[in-house]
């Protein structure tokens, strides 16, 4: 792009739009004063429309500049979001840890009572907790 930055692109787009507006004002005046015929009016209006399309093309370039300038901030925001998720995740690990302790207690109690079925059930719970802890870390 020949223009140095987004502001210059925007400024150029605005002045091209301004030209189109001026042409339109003069065209309407000419139509009211019956200075021109239909064909001439249509031709001038098409020229005006061409200018508006050129201005709009520059607005797209400017929008793309905005997106490009934002790369760093977008990256920063993503890192922050990931960091926050980790923090929430960390607390979840503690939660899983407490679950594990609870199940360990159940296991200990079952072992104490020497009941095979509850021991097996409790062992499975503990296994599941350990798996969950590993998955999170």
């Amino acid at each position: 792009m020949a223009l140095a930055n987004q502001q210059q692109v925007e400024a150029l787009a605005a002045s091209i739009t301004g030209c189109a507006d001026a042409i339109h004002g003069r065209l309407m005046q000419a139509i009211r004063d019956r200075e021109i015929d239909r064909y001439t009016a249509q031709t001038i209006f098409q020229d005006e429309a061409v200018l508006r399309q050129q201005a709009n093309s520059l607005y797209i370039d400017a929008a793309n500049c905005v997106v490009k300038d934002l790369a760093e901030s977008q990256q920063g925001i993503m890192e922050l979001i990931d960091g926050a998720r980790e923090k929430i995740g960390l607390i979840k690990e503690i939660a899983t840890f407490i679950d594990l302790i609870a199940d360990l207690l159940v296991l200990a109690a079952a072992a104490y009572a020497a009941k095979p079925l509850p021991i097996l059930a409790a062992l499975q719970e503990v296994q599941a907790d350990v798996k969950a802890l590993k998955a999170e870390s």
Binding site: M28, A41, Q46, Y59, N64, I77, A84, V106, Y112, A113
Partner: protein, 279 residues
């Protein structure tokens, strides 16, 4: 009995300190997330060609088609900006959420586990007392952890967020100016053609053209309100976040909470107004 009163006071204090008072931040972040998810104006920008195409011919039509391709290509990147801001706000809301750092279900299940096994020799009443105390302490610990997490997110996030919001405002300005050119192309077409139509021969055509002109004029007037509302909402989001940052150390003060609530309410109201505007 007497000895238990200081304990009760201590517990009550801990409970109060344990409330992180982040409700207002959550409201603000929720409202902001919903607001930044409003992508209608961006989509309208992408679809400019469809609306202006019937009124164009020759060189202007060819340029318009090129512009259409450029806009279609840019659209995904423009949406990403909405998505990033929305994701940031959603994460902030979650971080400030009641349940983000809540350990009470685990403590409950722990105490239930102990109580279910009298053979451990721990008295049920003791278990309850211990569990209640752990609830309070864990709440207090996690609340301060949560406050630190929310604070650091706001502090580190502010410069990036402000930049993204400025970018959103700039983009809305481009959308508005693009739409202004579209409006002048569409309405200008009628303004140029209608005076040349012969009322005695083209009555039907003239009536249709005038009706179309009215509809499109109303549409563009309505659209101005949408651009205004979008800008206003983004400014409220930016100012709200600046205030969060400025009041980080007294987020629990009644004054700061009322102010943050007001921003949340403003953003919500603007978003609701946008929702009722017909596109």
């Amino acid at each position: 009995m007497k000895a238990s009163r200081p304990l009760a006071v201590l517990l009550a204090t801990l409970v109060l300190a344990g409330c992180a008072n982040l409700q207002e931040i959550r409201d603000y972040a929720d409202a902001s997330a919903e607001f930044s998810a409003y992508t209608e104006l961006t989509t309208r920008f992408r679809d400019t060609y469809q609306r202006e195409q019937p009124y164009l011919s020759g060189e202007a039509e060819r340029l318009a088609r090129d512009n259409d391709q450029k806009r279609q290509a840019a659209y995904a990147d423009l949406l990403v900006i909405h998505q990033r801001v929305t994701l940031y706000m959603q994460t902030l809301a979650r971080l400030a959420g009641d349940d983000a750092f809540d350990l009470s279900p685990q403590i409950d299940s722990l105490s239930a586990g102990i109580k279910a096994h009298p053979e451990l020799g721990i008295d049920a009443q003791q278990v309850d007392a211990a569990a209640n105390l752990s609830q309070v302490i864990s709440r207090w610990l996690t609340a301060s952890y949560q406050q630190r997490a929310v604070r650091s997110m706001i502090t580190e996030g502010d410069p990036h967020l402000q930049k993204m919001l400025v970018a959103m405002l700039t983009l809305i300005r481009y959308y508005r100016q693009t739409s202004e050119n579209e409006k002048n192309t569409v309405l200008g077409f009628f303004a140029v053609e209608i005076p040349f139509a012969d009322p005695s021969q083209d009555r039907l055509l003239l009536a249709l053209a005038r009706a179309q002109l009215q509809t499109r004029s109303a549409e563009y007037n309505e659209l101005q309100r949408q651009y205004d509302a979008a800008e206003q909402g983004i400014r409220s989001m930016a100012e709200g976040h600046r205030q969060l940052l400025a009041n980080l150390d007294r987020l629990s003060s009644a004054e700061a909470r009322a102010m943050i609530s007001k921003f949340a309410q403003d953003i919500k109201t603007i978003r609701e107004n946008l929702g009722t505007v017909r596109s």
